[in-house]
Subunit: 308 residues, 4 copies
Amino acid sequence: MIEAGQLVLVISPTGKRYTHALDPAKEIHTHDGRILMSDIAEAGFGGIVRSHLGHPYRILKPTVYELIKGVKRQTQIMYPKEIGYLLLKLGVTPGSRIIECGTGSGGLTLALATYVGDTGKVYTYERREEFYKNAAKNLARVGLSHRVEQHLCDIEETGFQQTGADALFLDVRVPQDCLHHIQPAVRPGAMCGFLLPTCNQVSDLLRGLEQGPFTELEALEILVRRYKTVPDRLRPEDRMVAHTGFLVFARCMEKPEPFVRPAKVQPLEEPSPEGQPGENVPALGPEVAPETDADPLPDVDDETEATE
Amino acid sequence: MIEAGQLVLVISPTGKRYTHALDPAKEIHTHDGRILMSDIAEAGFGGIVRSHLGHPYRILKPTVYELIKGVKRQTQIMYPKEIGYLLLKLGVTPGSRIIECGTGSGGLTLALATYVGDTGKVYTYERREEFYKNAAKNLARVGLSHRVEQHLCDIEETGFQQTGADALFLDVRVPQDCLHHIQPAVRPGAMCGFLLPTCNQVSDLLRGLEQGPFTELEALEILVRRYKTVPDRLRPEDRMVAHTGFLVFARCMEKPEPFVRPAKVQPLEEPSPEGQPGENVPALGPEVAPETDADPLPDVDDETEATE
Amino acid sequence: MIEAGQLVLVISPTGKRYTHALDPAKEIHTHDGRILMSDIAEAGFGGIVRSHLGHPYRILKPTVYELIKGVKRQTQIMYPKEIGYLLLKLGVTPGSRIIECGTGSGGLTLALATYVGDTGKVYTYERREEFYKNAAKNLARVGLSHRVEQHLCDIEETGFQQTGADALFLDVRVPQDCLHHIQPAVRPGAMCGFLLPTCNQVSDLLRGLEQGPFTELEALEILVRRYKTVPDRLRPEDRMVAHTGFLVFARCMEKPEPFVRPAKVQPLEEPSPEGQPGENVPALGPEVAPETDADPLPDVDDETEATE
Amino acid sequence: MIEAGQLVLVISPTGKRYTHALDPAKEIHTHDGRILMSDIAEAGFGGIVRSHLGHPYRILKPTVYELIKGVKRQTQIMYPKEIGYLLLKLGVTPGSRIIECGTGSGGLTLALATYVGDTGKVYTYERREEFYKNAAKNLARVGLSHRVEQHLCDIEETGFQQTGADALFLDVRVPQDCLHHIQPAVRPGAMCGFLLPTCNQVSDLLRGLEQGPFTELEALEILVRRYKTVPDRLRPEDRMVAHTGFLVFARCMEKPEPFVRPAKVQPLEEPSPEGQPGENVPALGPEVAPETDADPLPDVDDETEATE
C-alpha cells in the first residue's frame, strides 16, 4: 500500500510521465482514461493499474532527480548536474543548516530539504511573491515543507536572519552586493556556492570575493553528454545542453584570531614564538587553489589488480 | 570544542591539506612542526592553531567532497562529479537501503553512507580482501561504519543477500554477468546505476540490460571544466580531466502483474476489459527514453522576471 | 564587376542567405521581390542591390565555410569543424592528389577541390547514382568540376584506380573491408582519414588497421561551442552539436624495404652492421602515438614577453 | 629522389620525430647515430635509411599539421584545431591575399602561406624583432618565404599597408584598438578573425566590433578529445586540452552605398522607391547571427539511404 500524501510517478503506455501526490479519494485524468488513486495505493510501487479504458499504467516511486525535474517552473531551474555537485561541495548532509537565495521555483530547495533530513533545515529567501508562493506549493507537493523556513524579502537590504549556518548558496543576479551579509550568517569556514549565467558576472563576483573574507575560490562548469543506448550503434546523441550556468565556490572565513598556545606546553626543539594578543595571523590569501585535477589517479584497467 | 573522533581538515600555511580524526591525546607531525590535537579541539572549526615552530594552521570541517577525495586509494576512485549525480539519479536519501558493488576504496560507499543517514543502510560487496580491509579503515576514519554492512564475496557467484533494496550501483568489470542477481535484491522499479570505463563495456552492458527486466536505459558522461579565478583574466584552465567513466542507468522492473479493478467500479463510457489472471501486461519495451534535453527551459535573463 | 559563373552570396534585409552562380541574364526571386543578376554583377562584392520592391540586399563573396554549408544535401554532411582539421592532418595542399570515398553530397569534395588548386586533383568515389549526380551538380555550381574526377562504383569490389595518391579519406559504413585497397593506391607514408558515427565502428576499424600496413593510429572527436555575442552578457549558447562523427587517422606504409648504405661510406666510430638483402626491418608497430597533448606550451599571457 | 630543400620527416626506431630541410651534403646527428642526407634523398618518401650504427629510420613527407606543430616556438602557438577552422571560415584559398598580425612563431603564417598558393600572398605584421626573425627562419625552413611579406612594426600606430585584402586575422592583446585600421585594408565584406585567451578580452572586442562597420559577429571555442586506440577497450584519453583561446569572427563592411537601379527597368507591381544619393541604407545591425546549429541535419544511419 502507498500512503496518502506520498508522491507517485505514473507512466503511461506511451511513456508519458505524471507526478502526483496520492489522495485515495481522487482520480487522475489522462489521455488514455481515468485512473483511481485508490487503485494506485493498492498496486504499490512497481505495480500496474489500468485506466477505465483498460490501458496499463506503471506506478513508480519518483527519485529526487525526477522530483527536481518535475517542479512547476516559473524561473530558470537548476539542473541535477549542478545540484548533485553542490550537495557534495557544500557539505549538505543530514542535520545541516543551509541558507539559500533565491528560492526561484524551489528545485534546489527541494533537493536541499531532502538531504538535510528531519534534523536539518533549509532557510530559503525569495523577494518575488509569485515565486515564493509557487515554491511553497512545490515543497508541499513533496511533503518537505516542515524542513524549510521560507523568507519573503530582499536579502540585499535585510541580510540573513540566521547565524552559524553550515553552508550557503546564492543564485541571484548581483551576488557581490550581498557578500557582506554572508559572514555574519555562517559558521567560520562554511562553504559558499554561487550560480551565474555569464562570464561578466563571474568576473564581478570574483572581484568581490577577493575583498574577503573568502578563500579557496573556484569557478567551473559541468557538462553532461548523453549517448544513444543502442548496443551495436553506441554513439553520443546529436545535441546536448551546452550551458546552464557557471558555478563559483568560496570558503567564508572569519577575521582570523590567532590561537595562543597555553604557556605550560614547551616546544621540544625551539622556543615557541607566542602569538601576540591582537596579532593578525596572515590570511591564506584571496586565492588558494586546493582543487586541481592535475594529477588524476592513473587509470586502473579492470583486468589488473592495481595497488598504489 | 571539537569532539573526539570528528574529522578535521588542517590547512598549512602553504595550502597543504591534511585530514585527521581528532584524538586529543595525539599530535600531528607536519613539515612545519608538530601540532597538538588538543589545541585543535580547543580552536574549533574555523580557528587557527600554531605548530610548535609557530606556523599557523587553519582548522576546518571537511565537506563530503573533501572526504571523498581524501580516501586512501588502492583503486581508481569515483569522482565527485559522478557521485553527486548518482545520489539524485538513484534516489539515495535518508532512510534508503542501497546496494553497492565493488566497494573499491570506499569513496562512493562513504558518500552513500553519509546520505542514507542513521535510518538507512549501505550494503557493499567486494571480492578482494585488501580492498575490503582498506575500505573498512576509510569508513572508520569518518565514523560511518555503523551505516555500512560490508560483504567479502564475489557477487557473480553468490548474488546479493538483501531484498527490496531502494537502489543499486555496480562498478564491476562485467556487470552483464551479474544482472540476473539484481531483480531479486531490489524493490520493483528500483533505479540501478553502472560505471564503465570503455565504450565496448557499455555496449555489452546495454545488450544485457535489453534482455530485461530493465527499462528506461540511459548512458551518459559528465565533464567538469575549471576556470582560472582571475577576475580580469577569466578563462578556462589549460587542461581538464577528459574521461573518468561512462554512467549507465536502468530501472529494474519485476515481472509485471496485472492489477485487476474490483468489479464494483463501473467504467463510465466503455466496459472495462478486465485483466485476466496470469495475463502478461506488455512490457514498456526495453528502451524507454524518459530523459531528453531536447527542450530545456528557455533562458531567463536575470533582469527580466519571466513567467511561463 | 562580378564575372558570370562566380558564386555570390545574397543576404536579405532579414538576414536570409542565398547562394547563386551569377548569370547576368537571369533574376533571383525572393520573398522581398525580384533581383536582377545584372544589378548584382554591377554592384560587386560588398555592394547593395535593391529588389524591384526596393528592399536592400547585400552582395558578398561566399567563403569556403559557406559553400560547404550550402551544398544541396541528400546525405549527412561533413561539418567544417572536421573538414578544416582534415585539410591539415591529411596534408591537402595545392598540387596534392587526394582520393575520397564516398562522395555523398560533395561537401568535403568541394573543400578538397578548393585546396588542391588547379595543379592538384580529387578522385572521388560514390556507388549510389543519385548522390553521384547530385554531387556533380554541387561541384558545377561552384565551378570546381575540372579539379575533380568522379567515379561511380563500389570500391569494396573495384578498389581505387589511382596509384601514388598523396592522401586518402574514407567516409563509408564498413571501412575495414576496403583497407586492402588503400596501399596500392597511395604513396608510401600517405596519411589516411576515416569518419565513423559509432564507437562500435571505430573499434572495428582499429582492429582492421592493426592488421597493417598502417601505423600512427589516432582517434578523436571535435566539438565546437558557440557563445552569445552580447559584450556585457557573454556566455555560451544554450545548446550545441554534441556529435557528428569520430575521426580516425592512420599512416599507410608499404612493406618496408631496407636501404643498404653503399660500402664506400665508413662509419667513424663503429663498424656498421649492414642490412642484409631481404631483411625485414621491424615495423614501427601498429600503434605509434606521435600525437599527445600531454605537454601543451605553457600559457603565455599577452602582457608578458615570454621566451622559451 | 627527394629534392634538395624539401622538408623531410625522419622517424627514429623509438618514434622520435625530426623535421629537416634536405641538404644532400649534410648529415643528421641522432641518438642512434649519424644519417647521411644523401641516403635520405635516395630512399625517398616512405623509405628506410640506416644510421651509421645500423638503426633504421623511416623517411616521410611532413603534413601541414606536422609542420605547424614543428615550428620553433617562442610564443604560444596556434593549434591545428583552430587553424583548420580558420582556413575555411576566412576563405583562405589559392590566390587569396591575407593579412595577419602578430606573426608570433609563424605557425599560422606557415599554414596561410601553404594555402594561398603561389598566386596568393600573406602579409604578416610583428612588432617584436626577435619573433620577427624567428618566424622568418621558420618560413625559410619550409621554403615558403616567397609567399610571405613580413612587416616589423606596431600596427596600432602604423595601420596596414595593404588595401583590398581578402581576409584578415588578428592575434593581438587589445584588438579593439586596431579595428579602425581594418576597413581601409580589406575588400568590402572581408571576413575577419580574432583569437583571444580570456572572456574579458572577448567582451571588450565585441564592444569594439559593435561600433562597426562589422557585422555577423560570432564567438566560439573548439575542443578536441582524443581516444585510446585499443579496439577492445575504446575510450577517451584521461586528459585533454581544455582551452587554447576563443575565436571571434566578424565581416567587415564598408559604409554602405545604395545601388540605384537604372531608370529603364520598371518594377512590375509597384513603383520602385529609388535610393536617394547620400541615403544611408540601414545597416544589417551589429549582430546578425547567420550561424546556428539549431537544426542540424537529422542523423542518417549508414544502413538507410536517406533522401531529403
